[in-house]
Every structure is written in C-alpha cells, then in structure tokens.
Amino acid sequence: MAQISTPAQERSLWDRFIIGLRNIAPIYIVLILLLIGIGTQNPTFLEPAGFLNLLRRAAPLMVLTAGQLFVIVTGGFDLSGGSLMSLTVIGASLLINNDPANTWWAILVLFGIGILVGLLNGVIVSYLNVPSLIATLGMLLALRGAGLYWTGGAPRGYLTDNFRMFGRGWLEPFPVIERFPYAVLVLIVVSAAAIYLFNQTNLGRQLLAVGDNPRASRLAGISVEKLRIIAFVLSAITAVIAGILQGGFGGVNPDAGEGYELQAISAAVLGGAVLLGGRGSMGAAIAGALALEALFTLLNLLGLPKPLRDAVQGLIIIGAVAYAAYRSRRTR
C-alpha cells in the first residue's frame, strides 16, 4: 500500500466515477430490474404519469423508512412508527373537525405530538436504558390505544381537502406532464432533507459513530444520549409526515399505518443498513422502500396471489441480509 499522495477531491472525475460505480449499493440495481420488470408487464408505469403514480403510492413508506434509518444506524429499532401514522390520521380527523380553517394548526399539533412521542422513546432508551425494541414496542401498543381512546373509538371528522391535498392533490398546470402530485413533492423534499442531514451534517456522521462504537463516541466528545433522542425524534417526525400522506391519499381510516413499521425496517435493511448499527445509507434505504413497493406492484401485475407476495417478501429480506453478512465475512 503506497502512501496516499492525492486526496480524493484531487482525483480525476473519471477515477471517482469508476470508484463510485464499484461501490454502488446493490439495491439500486435490484430496483432498476424491478422497474424494468414492471415496464414489461404494464408500460404505463414507466410513462411519467404512471411512474409518478407509483412514487405517490410508495411515498409514505419511503418517508417512514428515511426516519427509521436514523434510528437503525444508532443500533436501535423504532417499532412505534406505524401506529404513530394511524394516530396522525385519527388525530387529524378529530382536530380538523370538518373545518378547513383548522387544518394548519392541526398539522402543527400533530407534529407536536410526533415530536413528543419521539422524545419519549429517546428518553426511555437513553436514560432508562430500556432496549429500544421493548421501549418502542410498548409505545406501539400504547399509541394504538391512545388514538382511539382520544376519539372514542372511531375517527370523528372528515379530512378536509386542504389536508388531503398533500397525499392526494396535484400541482397543476405542470410543464410536460400536465400535473404533478404533491405527495411526490413532499417525498422529494423529505428525501432531500434526510439525505442532507445524513450525508452533509455532523448529525449523520455522529449517529453512525454512536452505532458503530458508543464508548469511543463518548470519549470523542459525542453526547450519545442526546443523539439517540434526536434519532427517535426524526423517526417520529417522518412517521407523522407519512401519516399525513397516507391519510391524504386514502382518507379517514383508523388503522392507516398498520404493519408499516416492520416494512420500513425491512426496506432499510434491503438498503444495506445493518441492524446493530454503524452502517447504512440514506439513499439506499429510501431506494429499498421504493423497491419493496415496486416488488408488490410487480407481483400484483404478474397476478400472483397476495400470500405468495408475503412469502417472496420474506425470502428476499432474508436473502438480502444473508448476502450482506456473507460479503462482509468474506472481506474480513
């Protein structure tokens, strides 16, 4: 190994391109293959409008996954995301109470609740030392009840159009394709923000450090507890956003987020995140979520029965992780 003479940024574009190509996450290839598969089944999906529809459909999961990754890289889980989504939808219907004027502060309140839940998760994990699996499992059960207890069992009001706009509405007129879904806009913004936070700020690097070696992190001056809490808060915020999108797309529905938490974890793992922390890529995780959704769509188009879809999903997740484990052992 010769001593390095030229730091990365001085290398020629071409070299960097090659290097980039070499360590591109496998999930992107998988995703492309899936999209091609979908295209062969039903080309409309690859036309702008069709593809935007796919994105719009996948948006809630992709957003939730982005948040989930923040927690996973610190070596934790957040199982409470799905029920927080449901809580958001139910809460919105109660707070807005059929009056469009209420929408905006209602959304603020919902984010407030989300942040509170995140803080709670974080504090329980960081200061009570409760393993995040248990802490967020308890939170999952609690939130399930809380939402319905709050509204007395069923959503109380309609979701007004200005609330549903985010999940359902379009930006029109729009150049080239005449209309552009707000959901995708939100998705782009959230993804960009998440990727920025994760790749461009101290936060992302420190979260990785905490997940990789908590003791060393502490000795390097990182306040581990604070970062764990931030991670859970971010996860909760994305859950609220996902809830708003889901509620907007589908309308009032007391269990809008059911099962989303596990799908988000699976997606992050498909994106190469390691469950005990220290490794993960935001872009790849979000791509993983899209891949999962694309997989469902493809299996749908192939007319495969839902049960088979579950099975395939299970196999793919195991396969992906097994392959990653196998590769990391080989490189050691």
Binding site: T44, A154, P155, L315
Partner: protein
C-alpha cells in the same frame, strides 16, 4: 479468530431450502390472503354465519382451497354457497316484517317460532353482561354506542357489564368464562368474534344462564335467542341486481372485496356472482381484495383503470372503502361508475353531492339495540323468537336523502336507528 472461515456451502444450501419453500407457496397459491377478519374492518365484523345446522363445519373447509384468481370465485361458491339459505334470504327480502315500521329493530321476519322464557323470569334491577368481540372498527363502535344508549333507556337495567375481547377468540373465551364465574350476570349477551371458535364457550355459558347471541352466530342452538338481520346473500344480491338493471350493454364490473374466508362476505359475493353470471352484457373484469384499506383499494382501482381504460360499475362486498374507490375515478379524471356502497356517512354524502347512481345495501347497526330488548323480554318471562330475524333495509337513490346526515362523523353508520335516542347526535360523535 478461530472458526473464521466462511461457510459458502451453507449459503447455497439455504438459498435452496428457501427457494423450495417459496415454490411450495406457489403450489398452494390461492388468490387470497386471510388477515384477522375481526381486527380489520367493518364487514368482517358484520360477518353473520348461518346459525342453523348446529355443529356443522363449513363443508368445503374439508379440502384446502387451491386456485388462482379466476377459479377462486368458483371454489368459494362451492365452499360457502348454500342454496337453501340463499332461497331463504331472497324470500325474506320480499316479506313485509311484522312490527312497527318506524322501529325496524323490534320488527321480525318470517313469523319465527317463539320460545317460552318464563323459567328465566325474575325481578329487576338487572345486571346485563355483554361479551364483545371487539370495538376495533367504526361499525362496531357505532353499534356499541347504540347498545349502551338502548340500555340507558331501561331503568330496570342496573348495569351493563362490558368486556372486550379485542378481536381475539382466546380472550373472548376467557372473558365469557369470567363473566359466568362472577355470578353477577342475569343474562349474557354475546357478539362472537368467530363462529366456530366461540361455540364451546357459549355452550358452557348456556348451562349457567340465559344467553342472547347477535351479529355473528354460533354452531349451537343453546342460546335462548339469536338476533340477526337477513344476511349476506340478500346484501350481495341487492347490489348486483342494481348494477345489472342499470348498466348498459357490455358493462365492465370490478368486484372489490375485503378478504376471503369470512362467511358473510363470501355469501355476499356468492350471491352477487350468481346474479352476474346469468346476466347479459355484464363482464366482471376482476375480483380483488383490498383488505378494507383505503389506500390499497384506491391503488387497485387506479391500476384497473389504467389497464381497461373504462370501468362502468363497482361492486363491493362492504362499503367501508367505497369513497376511496370513487376517488380513484376522480383522480384518473374518469366518470363515476355505478357504485355499490354501504350506509357509511362519508359514502352517502359523496353519493348525494355527486348524485351518483348507486345503492347501499346495509347490515344495520340498529341490530345492536335488539339484544337488550330480547334480554329484557327474557327477564320478564315474555316469549322471544328463537331466531329474531331483522329486516335489512336498502338505501336507494329514492330514499337516500333521509339517511344523509352531514353532521355525523364520516364513519358513522346511518342505519343505527338511534336518531330519536337521548343525546343524539353528540353521543355518536355528531354535532347539532
């Protein structure tokens, strides 16, 4: 450091094992999923199995269903269809029920055989006990609220003890045992979570005290009275008939279902399928399961619109997601289809706003009032019908207006028969 060597063979072996499992899955692949029928959405809750032929397992349960999307429906028919009950339902739909027309919850159909309950007669005040399968969806919430309101109407009911099984058979069995053991109950009202599973528990309860079962049945006739509307076939047939009568030649029908395996839902589809089969110009372009999830339903409909360009009518085995289906048409900029919904407010409102051509068969929530009334009869030693068959009104374009209540929550069920009860509408979440 030791044992460090990678076990590549293992990796391959497992890839294989897993693949095999996958294939097995395909092999057995029916078109469908079965999630908790209880936990998820209204119609599953409304599931009302046929309570006649005690102790009979559903015939087709014997052999597992193995079929793809298309053959699936046929399979289902053989599995759940019972000609004799189909005829019974059709007959009852045409009957005029006995009893006050403005109080359908005390009407009876098919002049039922009455049971003498003098052995149970006793002085008030009474403690009624109610083992509830769950309040885990709006339909049940409305029903439960209505039942409480009904109980409040009767001063002689000192207390209505409510235990909730949260959609778990195991829990409900234990709950019933608790209630019986506590010895507080003068009468036990049960809304079973699933038919087969609760039968043993209810049989045990019957030995101790009078039992009233409603909503879903059990495979035993030990309960003093069983309260139930006409049932699934009528529901399914009404919707299908409306489509057939109103859809022009060459009519693309999309059948949206919640999930398979729940008897009442299967009955609804079986009846509809029967109707569609011998109807000219009707082609069912697909039968899909939406899990009662708005988002899923919307996606499915969108995909079908992409694929077939035009859908003329949508038949649903439960209306909970009707609005989502309609929105898919809006989002795709397509004209509204002929739609079969249910008495859910959000659908009725949309129906009225856009004066769609639609129909809403109902599985009325007013049936939650009847068990209390039946139980009171029993306490007073008055006769009650062994099978209290309630009417099953259908909302049509004609009578739509009298059911639309914009002041009620979107997931309120109009057929609650609660409009004249105290504290309406606040108690049901509505506003003046």
């Amino acid at each position: 450091m030791f044992f460090k060597n990678v076990k590549r063979p293992w990796f391959l072996i497992f890839a294989l094992v897993i693949l095999v499992l996958g294939l097995v899955a395909c092999g057995g692949g029916a078109a469908t999923t079965t999630e908790e029928p209880a936990a998820e959405e209204p119609a599953a809750q409304e599931a009302a199995p046929t309570q006649e032929e005690p102790m009979a397992e559903e015939p087709a349960a014997e052999q597992p269903v193995a079929a793809g999307l298309e053959s699936d429906a046929a399979q289902v028919k053989s599995e759940f269809f019972s000609q004799e009950q189909y005829d019974r339902s059709m007959r009852q739909m045409t009957m005029t029920p006995e009893g006050p027309a403005d109080q359908p919850w005390i009407q009876m159909l098919d002049n039922p055989e009455m049971v003498d309950t003098s052995q149970y007669a006793k002085e008030g005040p009474y403690t009624f006990c109610f083992s509830n399968a769950g309040v885990n969806n709006p339909w049940r919430v409305v029903g439960w609220t209505t039942m409480q309101a009904e109980a409040d109407l009767h001063p002689e009911i000192a207390e209505l003890i409510h235990v909730d099984a949260e959609g778990s058979d195991e829990k409900q069995i234990a709950d019933i045992a608790d209630l019986v053991a506590s010895g507080n109950c003068d009468v036990l009202i049960v809304s079973p979570n699933t038919t087969a599973a609760l039968t043993p528990a209810i049989e045990q309860a019957c030995e101790q005290l009078p039992v009233v079962v409603f909503d879903r049945g059990v495979f035993t006739d030990c309960p003093v009275s069983f309260v139930q509307p006409i049932g699934g076939y009528a529901f399914g047939e009404a919707g299908a008939r409306y489509i057939i009568d109103n859809c022009s030649e060459d009519c693309n029908v999309l059948a949206l279902r919640i999930l398979p395996g729940v008897d009442v839902l299967e009955e609804r589809w079986a009846a509809a399928k029967l109707a569609f089969e011998d109807a000219p110009g009707i082609n069912v372009i697909g039968v899909e399961f939406g899990d009662g999830d708005n988002a899923k339903v919307k996606s499915i409909v969108t995909d079908y619109l992409d694929r077939f360009g035009r859908i003329d009518a949508v038949w649903m085995d439960a209306g909970a997601t009707a609005v989502a289906a309609l929105e898919a048409f809006e989002d795709a900029g397509q004209p509204y289809p002929i739609i079969v919904g249910e008495d859910q407010q959000d659908f009725l409102v949309k129906w009225q706003e856009n004066n769609l051509s639609g129909i809403a068969p109902t599985f009325p929530t007013f049936q939650w009032r009847t068990p209390i009334i039946a139980a009171l009869h029993i306490m007073n030693g008055e006769e009650v019908p062994a099978v209290w068959r309630l009417p099953q009104p259908v909302i049509t374009n004609e009578n739509l207006d009298q059911y639309v209540q914009p002041n009620m929550p979107p997931l309120h069920y109009a057929m609650c028969g609660c409009e004249n009860m105290p504290d309406f509408p606040e108690r049901w979440g509505g506003t003046q």
